[in-house]
Subunit: 476 residues, 2 copies
Amino acid sequence: MRTSPLLTDLYELTMLAGYLQEGLSEEPATFDLFFRSNPFEGGYAVFAGLEPALAALEQLRFAEDELAYLKSLNLFRPAFLDYLRTFRFRGTVVAPPEGTVVFANTPLLSVSGTLAEAQFVETLLLNLVNFSTLVATKAARIVHAAGDDASVLEFGLRRAQGPDGGLTVARAACIGGVTSTSNVLAGQTFGLPLRGTHAHSWVMAFPDELAAFRAYADAFPHNCILLIDTYDTLQSGLPHALAVAAELRAQGHELYGVRIDSGDLAYLSREVRQAFDRAGYPAVKIVASNELDEFVIDSIRDEGGCVDIYGVGTRLATCAGRGGGALGGVYKLVECCGLPRLKVTSDMAKATLPGRKRVLRAINPDGGYLQDILALDVDDPLAPGDTVYDPSNPLQHTLLAATATLRDLRTAVMVDGKRTRVAEPLDALTARCREELARLPQGCLRFINPHRYKVSLSPTLNALRNQLIAERSSTI
Amino acid sequence: MRTSPLLTDLYELTMLAGYLQEGLSEEPATFDLFFRSNPFEGGYAVFAGLEPALAALEQLRFAEDELAYLKSLNLFRPAFLDYLRTFRFRGTVVAPPEGTVVFANTPLLSVSGTLAEAQFVETLLLNLVNFSTLVATKAARIVHAAGDDASVLEFGLRRAQGPDGGLTVARAACIGGVTSTSNVLAGQTFGLPLRGTHAHSWVMAFPDELAAFRAYADAFPHNCILLIDTYDTLQSGLPHALAVAAELRAQGHELYGVRIDSGDLAYLSREVRQAFDRAGYPAVKIVASNELDEFVIDSIRDEGGCVDIYGVGTRLATCAGRGGGALGGVYKLVECCGLPRLKVTSDMAKATLPGRKRVLRAINPDGGYLQDILALDVDDPLAPGDTVYDPSNPLQHTLLAATATLRDLRTAVMVDGKRTRVAEPLDALTARCREELARLPQGCLRFINPHRYKVSLSPTLNALRNQLIAERSSTI
């Protein structure tokens, strides 16, 4: 699917026109895409959205109707519109693979190329990476809350931000560990497993609930999940579902499950579980839904709820709630015309980190992740035992453990505007995310006041930054 | 742009297959799309998303590759897939025009047709109406906060949920009163006015800020907005912008404006305003941005901030925050096989309202809106002076003012699957929203504890509902 190059903020085009006119457009530049605090006030994020971003970069070009529209704005000179006609992205993108666990201040994508091309793709990349990373992170949190014995079904399409908001949700949620979706188009597009039940309206369309259940079992004898809360879960839905379970068994089938969509899900799921177990149906699955998120699922499990599948919609699709809503990803110039660049502000946490960088992950001998270190791309021979620095407060520094090994988190995934490898299958991204989370310090997975995983600066990067801040201060 | 019919929850397809198999698919049915509480804990919502929804209904059909995908699921019988090959939406849709102010419990869309077609479009309609209505409402709140002397620019694309999330935001925000967008594709698609400035990276790409400002003014002398907070707003950005303002004037141009994107926006905007006024540039516009929403804008104005244009991004595009994130729109069966239908639960607020309905707005002689009344579509001759009932608590009832006139809020916007009129231009929707808000009781516009606009039931609808609840209780 083509992404229009007009899917951008106007200022990307005006800056491009300005750089061209000022003779700067072909200067070399590097931008870092990063976020300043972990989403959901959590201990980590799950990187996602890379493949859609690379696909959009690779096919970036202006069609004639788009150039005609830009001309109609009476804002740009003819020479600029001619320039756009052959404009392509031919730069380099360095990034970790999707499913990698990442942290605040870590450059996710670094984009190098001409100032023109590297600047122009800002909005596009932020649009495609910010939301996918947010959803993958939310999904990972929800899957963690659900535990190893339950699975999570995504059905947020009706609350998503338009058609492809829903598609983005399904793909990113899968990276974060959600095992199925209700979104049929996502199933077709990404090969995701589909799952669904029926709506209350199915029950209401029949003279009574038992007739509705019988009809659904008749239509889907192999795959029947009955929604049991239309009238009264324990008084009506449960006995009717038990009756249909017996009828199905008499026909040689087994009822797959029941869904509870309202009420006290911990209590109701315990009662329903007991009733099916006592009646000889221990394999019947219990699906629970209704404004679920990681916190609600946590409390259901705390109270001994017996849920096999959590259906999660709105709160996954919108990622609303504390520390959510949006990933605050930004895209900042870090090198231009061969020189490192810095934005300083009165708030040290908002000052940028200059220069082209490597992201190194320090790994314990047991395979556990220790901390990440940002170092310069060249002339920065970092080694275990070195002192590394907190990015917000240079007075805070630690020694990099001598037993740690260092792994470069990122590779050049696009060179000269071409992807360097084929897209990984989605299940590989899901597996990576699962493995990465297992190697994190346990406390990072906590929902409330998680352990803060350290992201530090190498001595060389720290010194460069301090030097640029000092120079900048002296020129104001 | 075609919307795939697979953009739906799996259960819409399984229910469709089930209705077909049970011989119910061609029975007449009506569904109401409504929400149960106003978004943002506010006093109203602005209805939006109708045109995209009608366009999607009109072109709903299954392509061969989509049928092949459904076949590959091994879930559906061949007869059902044949049925889908000629499946169309040929029903009727009743709705208010976009830009209408609406309230909790009001049916927005009512969809009548065969049970099959009316059920199947549930997810699609919710996806297209929920988010647009949420954004239009948020935009109206933000525009109200900005007041009559300032305008609002939308630039949330980088935080939106994927490409067409950003498009949906721009269109719906325009209905709510936002006057321009930074999203170039939205400009092309909907004819919206575009506006933009430049990024911090523009400033950082030059040797110093003054050189960067001069270059931007050189490139866009007629339309130059300078971002003045890259290094220090008052010490650096402001004097440099003043210098460029003078240089532009010497060339016969005027600086259009400056943008402040960090710091104390109320204080900084006052200082910047004074400086430009004193220097003889009272027409220079001040643009403010940085995590703005209706509450922040309110406080900036309370503190005497001098902002001409509020740039609003993340909090409009995501609608996150108190009572936000998602509009809880639902789609409920209200009539089937010629009989009214009801979902009852232990929570009266979640019980549905049976039957096909009119939505009547009671209007005072001065044109002000008094309350809305839901009445049955037929045999319900409501008149001023009648007693009307609260939908959550039948003990609460009021008299409909004798001086009120009643206006039917909705018309049949689609009959037999065809739109009954051409799409209204967007500026007509914006104008309608503005006029509607002016006719609301003032207290409904308040952000904190707003006046609760009454939505009541006609005596006939109330009696029908009570009767159905009593019947349902006696059968459990």
